[in-house]
Structure formats: C-alpha cells, structure tokens
C-alpha cells in the first residue's frame, strides 16, 4: 500500500500545527509544499476560474506543487464564505488535471456534530487512534496560541530593532524548534524561552512612535506572501503594527456577542464572514489612538467589500485615515509600495501637525 503523505495549504506559520496533527495524531507523513512564490500563484491562476478570490488560486497552486513534492492526500477546510465550497471544486479540478490524490474536505463535516470530522479523518488513516488524535489536536491548538503570541510581539517591535534582522532570525529559529515539540510541557518551555529571547533583542523605540492597525479578510491578512509582506514593509519604517486577526482571536476566542454589541452604531446585523471583526477592530484602533488603518482583502471578497462603506464612516467619525488594498494575481509590488509610501507620508505629516 502507498504511504499516506498529507499536505495542507500553506497559511501563515500555522501549517506547523497541522503537521503536528498529521504526524502525531494520525501517524502519517506530512509533505510541505515549497514556499509560496509567484509560480505558485501562476499555476493556481491558470487552473482556477477567472474571478474566484485569490486564496483559492494560492491553495490550488500550492496543492499542485505539494503533489509534485510527493503528497498524495490533501486537506481543505470549510468556512462561511466562498471557502466553504473551495474543497469540492479544487478536488474536481485536480481530478480533471489527472492527479490521483485523496482529498479530505472538512466541508463534509458539521461543527454541530464533531463525529462527522472524525469520519473525514478516518479517510486519512482508517486505524486512527481517537485519543491520540484528540491529544494532537489539543496540542496543535496550544501551538497556534504560542505562534500568535510570539508573532504579535514581533509585529510590534520589529520596526525598532537595533540590528536589522534580529527578530526575523529568532522567528525562524522558533518555528524550527516548534516542529520538534511533543507535549504541552515542552511547548510551554519553548514559549517562555523565546519570549525571553525576544525581549532581549535591543530595540530603540521613539517616545511616541507611529501606530498602524491592520484589518481585513482572513487569508490575505494572515498570509504574509498574499499581502506582499506589507506588515514588515511598514514596520521597517519605524511603525508599531497591530493586528488582532489571527486564529487565536478569531476562532479560539471570538466572543461574537460582545463584538456585535460594540459595533451596533455602525452595523445592525452580522454582515457575514469576518466583516464584524473588521469593523470592531477598526473602531478599536481608532479609539486606541492609531495613526492609520490598513484594510486588506483579496479582489472581489464580498463580505470585506461590504465593510468598506462602514469603514469610511469610521474614518470620518474618528478622523483616522484608512487605506484599502485589494490583491489579485495581477497585483505588483511596485504599485503597493507607492501607495504605502504615500500613506506613510500622510500619517507622518498628520502626526507632526498634531504636535504643533
């Protein structure tokens, strides 16, 4: 029998957690797709419908690269927007392309009835040990939390490092070590160790640095390649970057009720997918005194397009500049950098004005 070699689409740093579930929870091999490049997007675009959202194209391109790297079992998650239908169509496209792979589509499962997910996982390993799987999942969740904590810290400090590249280097080492974690105890130690190391990195923060908050669509905001490393580009100019949107905050502790309540001056209803969080965080960043807000999404993302008229009102009410970025396969670095430069100049000048 062929050995099961599993791949999950690259998504921020989180694939390490999926790797853990596959290896420790399901006793299968995990195959990393090569890092996302322009080629990934090209392959994805070539085989995707025209105006589908960009994450679909990244995922599809990534699957094909993973298959070429030896994967024979692919996983796709479900979701409340178009993501909920990604899996079935991607499976079909890969089949039409002639790839003989097993496709695990978590959209077949039902959150109200977790046993349905068990059925899906059983397709990966029919002899799976439920206790082992549950343990691996629990640790993976903790890993997500640690990743988010570490990356939050970096985001807020990387713009001020004395020696360029110190945080990046630590980040890489951290991810490397995270791969070898076997239990909660090890994870806690690792988390503490790296927080200590991060805090030791010398930073030179001005008294009142510029602060920018990121809001927007799930995939594009969390996947640095998809947003052309925008966070880092901005941070390098000496800006503290805030980004609430990560898996810990959005999936593990979403607190929908409170969010709904806090945006009621702007939205009566849940506007779909991550729209509520986008609005809520834009208000928070404005209130907390950020100098600007950046909204990112893939081209055509309906729920996020629909937040834009709301964000415009928030921008008026709190007198905070908001800039909107939409990414598709045609987006060029040059265009983005020019707009970021202009945005930076603007918030910088506003800050100077305020000082007077």
């Amino acid at each position: 029998m062929k050995k099961t070699r599993v791949n999950f689409p690259r998504f921020g740093s989180y694939d390490i957690c999926v790797e853990h579930i596959i290896k420790s929870g399901l006793d299968c091999e995990y195959v990393y797709a090569p890092p996302i490049t322009k080629k990934t997007l090209e392959i994805g675009t070539k085989n995707s419908p025209d105006f589908v959202c960009t994450p679909f194209k990244y995922n599809l391109g990534g699957y094909i690269e993973a298959i070429e790297a030896g994967a024979n079992t692919l996983i796709q998650v479900g979701g409340v927007c178009r993501l909920g239908y990604y899996g079935e169509l991607q499976e079909r496209i890969l089949k039409d392309l002639g790839y003989d792979v097993k496709f695990i589509n978590l959209s077949n499962g039902n959150f109200k009835n977790p046993i349905t997910f068990y059925e899906e996982f059983k397709k990966i390993n029919p002899n799976l040990h439920i206790k082992k799987l549950a343990q691996a999942c629990a640790l993976a969740v903790k890993m997500v939390e640690v990743i988010d904590k570490i990356e939050d810290y970096i985001r807020q400090n990387v713009g001020f490092e004395k020696i360029e590249g110190s945080f990046d280097k630590l980040h890489e080492e951290f991810l490397e070590d995270l791969r070898d974690i076997n239990d909660k105890k090890e994870l806690n130690l690792l988390s503490r160790l790296y927080m200590k190391k991060l805090k030791k990195v010398e930073v030179e923060k001005p008294k009142n640095p510029l602060k920018v908050g990121f809001v927007g669509e799930y995939y594009t905001i969390m996947d640095q390649y998809s947003n052309h490393y925008m966070e880092k580009e901005l941070a390098k100019k000496g800006i503290i970057i805030y980004r609430w949107m990560n898996l810990t905050n959005s999936i593990l502790n979403p607190n929908t009720k409170e969010v709904k309540q806090s945006i009621k001056n702007y939205a009566k209803y849940d506007m779909g997918a991550t729209a509520m969080y986008t609005i809520k965080k834009a208000i928070d960043y404005a209130k907390e005194g950020c100098d600007g807000i950046i909204h990112v999404k893939s081209f055509g993302c309906t729920p996020e397009i629909d937040t834009m008229p709301v964000l415009q009102r928030i921008s008026e009410d709190y007198k905070i500049p908001i800039i909107y970025f939409s990414f598709d396969s045609q987006t060029s670095d040059v265009g983005i950098n020019t707009r970021i430069e202009a945005f930076y100049d603007m918030i910088m000048m506003r800050k100077e004005e305020k000082k007077k």
Binding site: S48, F51, L89, N105, N110, P303, D306, M308, V310, R313
Partner: protein, 311 residues
C-alpha cells in the same frame, strides 16, 4: 404613507409576496422603474467599485427612491434553511451597506431580517414588520397568508407556462441565472431578446419548484452551500433533458457564481454550455455574437443528428 420598493435583487423573488402583503394591509407602495442608464450611473457612483454589478444596480434603485417615498424596503436575509445552507453575504449585509452608504441622508428604511439558523423565520419577520407599520396581529397574519397564497399561485402559473414552452418544437435554451440578472431590463433582457430573434425559446432556470430543485442539486454537488445557487444547479437537473443548450449568466464579479459556474461546466458534459458575464459596459453586440454562434452550433448539431436518424 408610501413604501418604496427597489426593483432589484430580491424584488424578483418576492415581488408578489411584498406587493400583496402591502395591498392587503392597505398600504401604498411604489416600485422603482426598470433599470436604465440613469439607475446604473447612480449605482456605479455610490456603490463600492469592486462590488458586483447586481449590487450596484440595487444601489441605483435605492438612490432613485430617495425622497420619493416615506420608507424604502430593504430586507436582510442570512439563511433560509438548514445549517448547511447559507446565502451570499451580500444579502446579509445589504441593509447595513445601504445605511452606511447613505448615512448623511438618514434614510428611513423598512426592514426585516430572516435568519432561520437563529430561528428568525419569514413569518416572524413579517409580523415584526407589520407591527412596525402599526397594524394589528390578526391583520398582519391575514395579509401574510394571503400574500403567501398569491406567491404560491404565481409560481405555479409560471411553472405551468414554462411547461407549455417546453412542448414547443423549437430550439430551447436553459438560462441559469439569478432572477435579478435575467429579468433585469437593462442587463438581462438583451439576452432573452437575442434568443427570440434567433427563434429560440428561453427556459428560465429559476422558474422551478425551489425545494425540489435544492434537493436535486445535492446529487450534482453535495457541499454547495448557497441556497440560490442550489436552486439553479437543481434546475439544470430538472430541465436539462428537455433543452438543447445551457447559458450561464452571471454579474461580474459574483462570488458564488465564480465557483459554481466552473463546477457546472466541469460536471455537465452532455449539453453545450456557455457562460456570459454581465458588466456595466455599454453595448450588447459582443454578447449577441456569442449567443448567435452558440445557437448556430446547436442548430448544426441538431441537423446532423436528424440526418443520422434518417439514415
């Protein structure tokens, strides 16, 4: 008091229900005119650039109604059916989108919300709306049930009429399109006209028993989540064998359609299919040419089959 109804989006699904309901309650209403250049221009200038053509048209109709009525009807729908079904988030968001887009105008909006996942049914929603309009519960209930009956009858008539069309000995083309696209005077009607001119009959996919269609869709694509698209995919299963070709009509850049059309093209192999994308550009010449060549191919194929049958 006059209620203004935008002739766009859900109007095409619910106009019988809405109009009868308001009439039964003795309320006046106006419906915005058929989509025209002016309405498209209004929509394009007020809606977000990237939003789909259909929602720009909707915005245009709302814009037209401002200052022409006391309330503009803008319902919001999050879910119709079981937990596995959703609707395009546009329908969840449209109330708040319009509200924010026109904040300085302080629009008076008549609204209701349907979200079956959270136990907000249509009946509950209409009761609330009726109460807001100052009507008594018995009055509202009566109006609602009469309106429901009218809606049902209307649908039956439409389906029956379509049955007659299916009997005709002409080339028949199934139009798979959200009703707000194909029935729109400005963007959809040119397609129907082009078919008429080529002596073809259009079979409209959304003229179908919706529940039955949704059931049928499961066999073709089990994880498809959008209720409206399920009905359209189901209509293919129901009408496919009685038509000669299929035209998929979508507005640019419709989220659900972007995936579902691709799935349809990949799964339905025994009928010729084309995919028409509607945008706000002027002129229908390009689209007409595509329809003409599509029909020509179907004709040729039919003649060939006929010849083969003879020999």
């Amino acid at each position: 008091m006059t209620i203004g109804i935008p002739r766009a989006f859900l109007y095409y699904r619910y106009h019988t229900l809405w109009e009868t309901f308001f009439e039964e309650l003795g309320l006046d209403y106006i419906v915005s005119p058929e989509t025209n250049k002016d309405i498209i221009a209004r929509g394009t200038s007020h809606a977000m650039d990237e939003s789909c053509l259909s929602s720009k048209i909707y915005t245009g109709h709302v814009d037209y109604l401002i200052d022409k009525c006391d309330y503009i009807l803008i319902p919001r729908i999050a879910s119709f059916a079981n937990k596995k079904e959703i609707v395009c988030s546009k329908f969840q968001a449209i109330y708040d989108v319009i509200k924010n887009t026109y904040r300085e105008k302080e629009l008076k909006i008549l609204y209701y919300s349907i979200d079956v996942h959270n136990k907000e049914t249509e009946l509950k929603a209409f009761l609330k709306m009726g109460k807001f309009l100052g009507k008594k519960k018995t009055q509202i209930l009566k109006a609602y049930y009469i309106a429901k009956q009218a809606e049902k009858t209307q649908k039956m008539i439409e389906i029956n009429n379509q049955k007659n069309v299916l009997q005709k000995d002409k080339i028949k083309i199934l139009i798979v399109s959200h009703p707000y696209n194909i029935y729109d005077k400005y963007v959809g009607e040119p397609i129907l006209n082009a078919l008429k001119e080529m002596d073809c009959e259009a079979i409209i996919g959304c003229v179908v028993d919706e529940k039955h269609a949704r059931e049928k869709a499961k066999a073709i694509t089990p994880t498809l989540p959008w209720t409206f698209n399920k009905e359209l995919v189901g209509s293919i299963a129901i009408y496919k064998d009685q038509v000669d070709g299929i035209i998929l009509v979508s507005s640019f850049p419709c989220g659900p359609d972007s995936l579902v059309n691709e799935m349809i093209i990949r799964k339905i192999k025994d009928k010729p299919i084309i995919n028409l994308i509607l945008d706000a550009q002027e002129g229908t010449a390009g689209m007409e040419t595509r329809i003409e060549s599509f029909i020509d191919i179907i004709r040729l194929r039919k003649e060939k089959e006929y010849e083969e049958d003879k020999s």
